[in-house]
Symmetry: C2
Subunit: 653 residues, 2 copies
């Protein structure tokens, strides 16, 4: 039986398990990337593991989320990251050099390689035939230390593209069409593999717009074959050596197949406030637009901004609309400036931002109240722009530029005839910002520089045989990781400072919780259904662990948060509704079993004694690997212990 | 007797008083400018006055401080300002179009005109022979309504320039030399008038670097003659019609004279943390520099950035140093981009920011902890950069670029021989960003758009005959306006929302104060010496007024805050030390006199009865005009009443 492209790459990197959907597999990681809001913890964990040198072929540290540096803690984080990259042997992309995904694809992405990144849009270079997966920071730290990455083998779905895009339809419309059809949950547990004759007509940057935003489908990753378009792009970025042709076998079998005829597509738009609320632009036309933003890792490339620049040449934007261009990389900024497009866009009324994630995560250019913002970004979740009740639409740069011209949403096909479809044009060479990546061998630091906000990562002791403590907080259903650790800017800047960050743990539920936990000698959380849904941030497990929480009793757990609880050594027990109802906050909880022994031995049912009065059952659903991690006190302690058993961390070899 | 240039312009605009130093004079205002952190209150006051059209020749509203728009309140403020400019007939400079002083000098500044602005660096176009003064927002609102501006006639000091600047010395070094000699208090109550043969060698932009930073001397204003250099600049900005030659009379008499031989100057630098801590750069050489910033209203012009760009062409900045260029205006940004300099600077490792005040006021690019930042800005007050215990140096763009190249402070004369002194070069024409000023006749709004954070301005009733209330807060000496209304970002964004902002009143002294005041029916503040020192922000009087405070008993008042207390109708009484010592917080305070009558009649001594038990004397030191304003309930009520007596606001004519 033939293999899909995904299977081929996984096969090449497999160190444990079998390529059966749903099975846990361990794969070798060739490249890792981290950014500034997740990277500090990655390096602190790397340090805590006792590692002293990056073991992957390549590790790259980017500074992209907090590049406006509006608190010294951001600037200190950047300096720490530079020092960590220098000390441990990673590439360091300086603040202002652009978004990790854009800079990575320009400088390092390569077909056939595996990439693990502590950012959810890590799958971007799937457009170059790279198998790229987003994960929590601890997984990245372990991978950088030479450890395998474990993931459930996803289903591989064939997305067959036919035809060619007509004028005004773009790669953005391909992924918006996918979202329209499949919804934001349509990709969970899947990898989308793009095939078919339509693939050949799409350049690599267009493919990467699609793979980038595959994340919004919930997909584990998305991937295109590596072909002449891939080679062409790699030549233009000056890295033709990285090219390797890669295709699925002709007789590869897929779990499912979707067909999109590119020639049927028209300009689409995602309405507020979910990326899958997609309609043709013409159906949303006429809505006043106060802000237009072009940029982000989805559509922030030189070739994304160029069409908008051509549309705006010798034109002026509507006086009631603000338009901001935030290039995805400084290379794009420099090229646009060198060729005169920056000046042309400014003349049209456009404001240029630094190359940053910025506005996409609500940092800068927050829309006004009760206003519409049209953005070429990948997410329009309610409130993500920095204001509650926002009205953010997602679209292509062409649709964005059209709205800026008219001051309202307009199908670009309805623009005056003198504005022609700009089409897509790649530059002969992507050249610029060559000084903004510090290579490992030119590092300026050989030791870590920690500002006063940068602490150490706490390590947990192995699981006790006897667990007992107070039910410190009883919560409802659907508690999100945003409830556990809010991501607002005033709290976000403490991501490198676990003791300080922990003060905010569950403060949105009960602002006395953190202090009560510290004052207690251990304790438990109690929750209803779907505990820990939402973002994958590992701080939502790490901070409760720091506060001394030993376990969580919940009716059910969200998938990623459940994994994070194992990773940080917190016992996650499922309880039934009756038990949930009967436990009150303040009750004394005791796990009657020899917990460590029971966890390691594969025991599934645990006896929970409440107030030394009555008993209930808690279920531990875990793989053998997860049980070892949990019993060892979390992944950090577990991996560190492995290194010690093996006679030292790999970097000591 | 001949006249100074200052006297000539004042004479042309005098509506009240005589040009005797120390005498209060009223002058007509030709132009006003406001920016985004002070402008919202200006327009709310304009609205509260019942005015409906700008009466000055020109009013210009800029958006420059909060252009990163970190909060929707910033964006809402910008939209409100656009709507106010449109509704009332002002020019509106869109967010991102640059710093008020830079954009004003490019587009509107004119020799011989008076300019009043709600920003302390308003004197910038003194370099074009304009008499420009910074003031509180209420004064700007009244001037926009056609009212005179009242100020104590300053002393006019002759700064005689001789010789010409040698290589590597710049206009920045002229004003740094002034600061070195005179200190930050050396200009209080003075206008510096630059004369002598050295003046001719300085271009208008160089002159404006000097007049801009005259503010750091504490001067009321600074001014240069209008001559061929002025004409030359106005031609280059396409406004030759605005030119008018202006010189002081040959026999003008000055209060004092200072002589600077330009040919004696060398590169200077202001050390942390005061603009007058000036030494030659060579004396500070060798200090490691982590951040270099070129920009601000002092050195953010095209012609300021160009020399740095020439120095960095084909060079690269030090890998351990971050360098950010934030042009003062989008016109400068566009010109630099059009000519390729933006791309050259980026290639050297420089990061470009939007055109904004930004970092100069601690918004964005906050230095890292325990690090040195070299900036071409005008202020390095401790903490202003956004981090306490900062180390900010002030210098010319040439010195800044040299430090970026070397990673440490270096006298540019000690650079490699292949880096030549770039000299100063003006462009043939300053062209760009033509679409970023919305003229009154193309306004897009004809009514005010107030987001949820934008409230009305409270109006105070006329002074009561009987004042009695609790001593709600007793404070020490030297309470600053930063104590009264903090200027940190989390509070700054409420500048348009007096009820909300008032919640923070004196919170740094006692965070129960605001609520206690609201709960009381009137009340008093009690303070020691020098109450209200520091920034001129009028919110420090407006917010206590909103909370119901009726008077302040202090041993002495800072000058500007004392004026603000009159402007917002709070009775400022001076008490002696014994009285201060005897009054306790919580005491009942009664002013025994018929207060309104006594204030209007010129009575100086007021009887304060404490706890219906003992009496003391409070002194009211005020001009007749100030007494009328106070008795009427503050300037806003006072002026509004005048309009009504005159049969309507001027705009109704």
């Amino acid at each position: 039986m033939g293999q899909t492209l995904t299977e081929k790459i996984l096969d090449d990197h497999l160190v444990e398990g079998e390529l059966e959907p749903g099975e846990e597999i361990g794969i070798e990681i060739d490249q890792v990337l981290t950014q500034d809001t997740t990277g500090t913890l990655v390096w602190l964990q790397f340090e805590a593991l006792g590692l002293d040198e990056v073991q992957t072929e390549l590790a790259a540290q980017y500074c992209d989320h907090q590049t406006y540096q509006f608190d010294f803690k951001n600037t200190d984080d950047h300096r720490f990251l530079r020092s960590a990259a220098g000390t441990f042997g990673a590439y360091f992309s300086r603040p202002g050099n652009g978004i990790c995904h854009n800079v990575h694809r320009e400088n390092f992405a390569a077909p056939g390689k595996t990439l693990l990144g502590s950012d959810s849009h890590t799958p971007t270079p799937g457009g170059l035939g790279q198998l790229a997966i987003g994960s929590g920071g601890l997984d990245v730290a372990v991978a950088m230390g030479g450890g395998a990455y474990y993931v459930e083998m996803p289903e591989v779905v064939n997305v067959r593209l036919e035809g060619e895009l007509p004028d005004w339809a773009t790669a953005k419309d391909v992924i918006l069409e996918m979202l329209r059809r499949l919804s934001v949950k349509g990709g969970v547990g899947k990898i989308f593999e793009y095939t078919g004759p339509g693939v050949e007509s799409l350049t690599a940057p267009e493919r990467m717009t699609i793979t980038n935003m595959g994340t919004e489908l919930g997909a584990t990753s998305s991937i295109f074959p590596s072909d002449e378009q891939t080679e062409d792009y790699l030549e233009r970025v000056g890295r033709e050596d990285a090219y390797e042709p890669l295709q699925p076998d002709d007789d590869a079998e897929y779990a499912d197949e979707i067909t999109i005829d590119l020639s049927d597509l028209e300009p689409l738009i995602a309405q507020p406030s979910m990326p899958d609320k997609v309609v043709p632009v013409r159906e949303a036309a006429g809505e006043d637009v106060e802000q237009v933003m072009i940029g982000s890792c989805t559509n922030g490339g030189y070739e994304d901004i160029l069409p908008a620049a051509k549309m705006l040449e010798d034109q002026t934007i509507d006086l009631s609309t603000e338009m901001i261009v935030a290039p995805g990389s400084k290379k794009a900024s420099e090229m646009l400036a060198r060729e005169g497009w920056t000046a042309e866009l400014m003349a049209a009324g456009v404001n240029f931002s630094e190359a940053t994630c910025g506005a996409c995560i609500g940092i800068g250019h927050v829309p006004g109240s009760d206003s519409v913002s049209l953005r070429t970004f990948n997410r329009n979740f309610e409130g993500r722009s920095g204001i509650e009740d926002d009205n953010v639409y997602l679209c292509s740069p062409e649709v964005a530029a059209a709205a800026a011209l008219e001051g309202e949403i307009v199908d670009p096909r309805d623009l005056d005839d003198d504005i022609e479809a700009p089409g897509l044009e790649l530059p002969d060479t992507y050249a610029g910002a060559e000084e903004d990546i510090i290579e490992p061998d030119e590092a300026v630091d050989d030791e870590l520089i920690k500002g006063p906000n940068i602490g150490d990562v706490p390590l947990k002791d192995p699981l006790d045989s006897h667990l007992e403590g107070e039910a410190l907080l009883k919560m409802e259903d659907n508690i999100t990781t945003d409830h556990i650790i809010p991501a607002t800017q005033d709290i976000l800047m403490y991501r490198s400072n676990i003791p300080k960050l922990s003060e905010f743990t569950l403060s949105r539920v009960d602002d006395t919780f953190a202090q009560r936990s510290l004052d207690s000698d251990g304790g438990f959380l109690v929750a209803g259904e779907n505990y820990g849904q939402g973002s994958s941030r590992e701080h939502a497990a790490l901070c409760p662990m720091y506060l001394g929480i030993e376990g969580v009793l919940a009716q059910s757990f969200a998938r990623i948060h459940r994994a994070n609880l194992f990773n940080f050594g917190l016992l996650p027990l499922e309880i039934d509704e009756d038990t949930y109802e009967q436990i009150d906050q303040g009750d004394d909880i005791e796990i009657v079993d020899d917990v460590e022994e029971a966890v390691r031995s594969g025991q599934e049912e645990f006896t929970i004694r409440v107030n030394d009065d009555w008993e209930a059952t808690g279920i531990l659903d875990a793989s053998a690997r997860e049980r070892e991690i949990l019993a060892d006190g979390g992944k950090l302690t577990h991996v560190k212990q492995q290194y010690e058993e093996e006679g030292g961390a790999p970097a000591d070899d």
